[in-house]
């Protein structure tokens, strides 16, 4: 299709690249500009906490492939600082601005830094979100530090702890919640994750926070002081306390954008502050808060790789289609993690649950599927080294099957023991939730109101 329509994509990572790729694949041949604050071509982030740190690939290999010739104008190494919807232009950090007819916002998240700047500036304190982060941490781990501290046992923190053990490094993990991954998987399954860590020699300390990071006077990290009054000598501290959505630049744009993301409809069209849907502003990836019919149409933001891809493709499609030809993004959420040689896969939203049952396999062998339910409906399933069964559970989730499951399966734990899924209040976790449900998580007792940007 021959087009004069100017498309600008703000955010040059997975969602931005895939949207550009999909636009071209669908035949869009108009001018396309991609803005990114990092100096690199779009790269893949999951390897940064796994394959890169294990030496399986150098960080620069993480560059993502495109399936098409993008023929795009790249504005890399410069952040977008404002979105002007009066004049339909994106204002850049270098003072330049890029006009558009349609814009896609894919600015994603950044790592939540250690809150005290004088401590986070110490040499030896790391976060892992970007290619540069991963490169620096890899160099430091290769130098053979005496002891590594990982602060926060979400997926990133747990994966880094796993890498450290595999590299033979001694590592302590602190987690304010009762277990690793508990915020994503609930207490029953998180207990398995805790066992995995301890079996692999991780010094795991739950219910503990880090009160203070201490330098050696030369600007190097030397010691961590914990909330229980003890101290640890450490050379490396990896801060893995979740992320912050990159939405500040949208303040004043008139969009419904805030710390929880940018609200949009099922077709990735952004809402404005008055709850009206825009027709030329689209959102995809970690910053998108989108209603999902399986979860009572709550606005959900998902920091999942597959979500970025799915929304990017829907957004691209809807940017160049009108009316009834537009598509909704209805994928069942899914994610994976690789740690301690176990493949953890999830479909649905395990946090959207009140009960859980180990439906197949053996927890002791760490080969099992756990099915999650909420008020009598199956809402999620998590597999540890049992991924081939998840398509079945995806089908059950899609068809709103009953929970607990009312049928027999092969290799079942007999009898099924239905337990509380033990979801903690997200407020108590060290690691931020990777799924943020606006409104009510089953266990969430309050809703936080944020003042709207003026």
């Amino acid at each position: 299709m021959s087009s004069d329509m100017r498309v600008v994509i703000v955010g040059a990572s997975l969602a931005g690249l895939r949207a550009a790729d999909e636009l071209r694949r669908l035949g869009f041949d108009g001018p396309l500009t991609i803005v990114g604050d990092e100096p690199y071509e779009p790269y893949d982030r999951p390897p940064l906490s796994k394959a890169v740190l294990l030496g399986i690939m150098p960080p620069e290999h993480a560059t993502l492939p495109a399936r098409t010739d993008l023929d795009a104008k790249w504005r890399l190494g410069v952040p977008a600082t404002a979105l002007d919807l009066e004049d339909n232009r994106v204002v850049l950090g270098d003072g330049d601005s890029v006009p558009f007819d349609k814009v896609l916002l894919t600015t994603g998240v950044r790592a939540r830094p250690w809150p005290k700047p004088e401590e986070s500036d110490l040499d030896g304190v790391f976060t892992v979100r970007t290619l540069d982060d991963s490169r620096r941490l890899d160099e430091r781990l290769s130098a053979g530090p005496g002891h590594v501290l990982v602060i926060g046992a979400g997926f990133t923190g747990s994966e880094i702890a796993s890498v450290c053990r595999e590299r033979g490094l001694s590592v302590t993990v602190t987690e304010r919640g009762p277990a690793p991954l508990v915020g994503a998987l609930g207490g029953v399954v998180a207990a398995v994750a805790a066992d995995m860590q301890r079996d692999h020699g991780v010094d795991l300390r739950c219910g503990i926070t880090v009160a203070r990071l201490e330098g050696d006077g030369q600007g190097r990290l030397r010691r961590a002081h914990l909330s229980d009054g003890t101290a640890l000598d450490v050379d490396v501290a990896v801060v893995a306390q979740g992320s912050i959505r990159n939405t500040e630049w949208l303040a004043g744009s008139g969009l419904a954008a805030g710390p929880r993301g940018v609200a949009c409809d099922a077709g990735c069209r952004a809402f404005d502050l008055n709850g009206l849907v825009t027709d030329n502003v689209f959102v995809a990836g970690d910053i998108a808060r989108q209603p999902h019919p399986l979860y009572d149409y709550q606005l959900i933001a998902l920091e999942h790789w597959g979500n970025a891809i799915g929304q990017a493709e829907v957004a691209a499609h809807n940017m160049i289609h009108e009316g009834l030809h537009r598509r909704p993004h209805l994928d069942i959420p899914a994610f994976w993690s690789s740690q301690f040689e176990v493949n953890i896969k999830s479909v649905g939203i395990p946090t959207y649950s009140d009960q859980v049952v180990v439906s197949q396999g053996s927890v002791e062998e760490r080969r099992f599927v756990a099915a999650y339910g909420f008020r009598g409906r199956l809402t999620a399933a998590v597999a540890f080294n049992h991924g081939r069964w998840l398509d079945f559970y995806r089908g059950l989730i899609e068809s709103a099957a009953a929970f607990p499951p009312d049928f027999a399966v092969m290799d079942r734990t007999d009898p099924w023991e239905v337990r509380s899924s033990e979801l903690p209040d997200p407020a108590i976790l060290s690691h931020g939730p990777t799924v943020s449900v606006t409104g009510h998580l089953p266990t969430e007792r309050h809703v936080e109101f944020v003042s709207a940007p003026k």
Binding site: I56, M57, H61, T63, L64, R67, W305, W336, S338, V342
Partner: protein
């Protein structure tokens, strides 16, 4: 020649490991089911990566290797 670029959709991946069998220097199984890989192997792996991508039973491997277009 340029390095190959690839990415695997690990939500789709079910650990059939066809890619590991066919290109063992690029893909590796970590434990029984976790797939890790070098996303930018050098050009010498191009043929094996093509075979791996073609063989993936769940079509989870995307590369920047362009297949031969249809001829007239």
């Amino acid at each position: 020649m340029m390095d190959v670029k690839l990415v695997v959709d690990l939500n789709r991946c079910q650990g059939y490991a066809q890619c590991v069998f066919l290109a063992p220097h690029v893909f590796t199984l970590h434990g029984e089911e976790s797939l890790l890989y070098d996303a930018g192997p050098d050009d010498g792996e191009r043929e094996r990566v093509s075979q791996a991508a073609a063989a993936c039973p769940v079509q989870a491997i995307t590369t920047d290797i362009r297949p031969q277009s249809h001829e007239q």
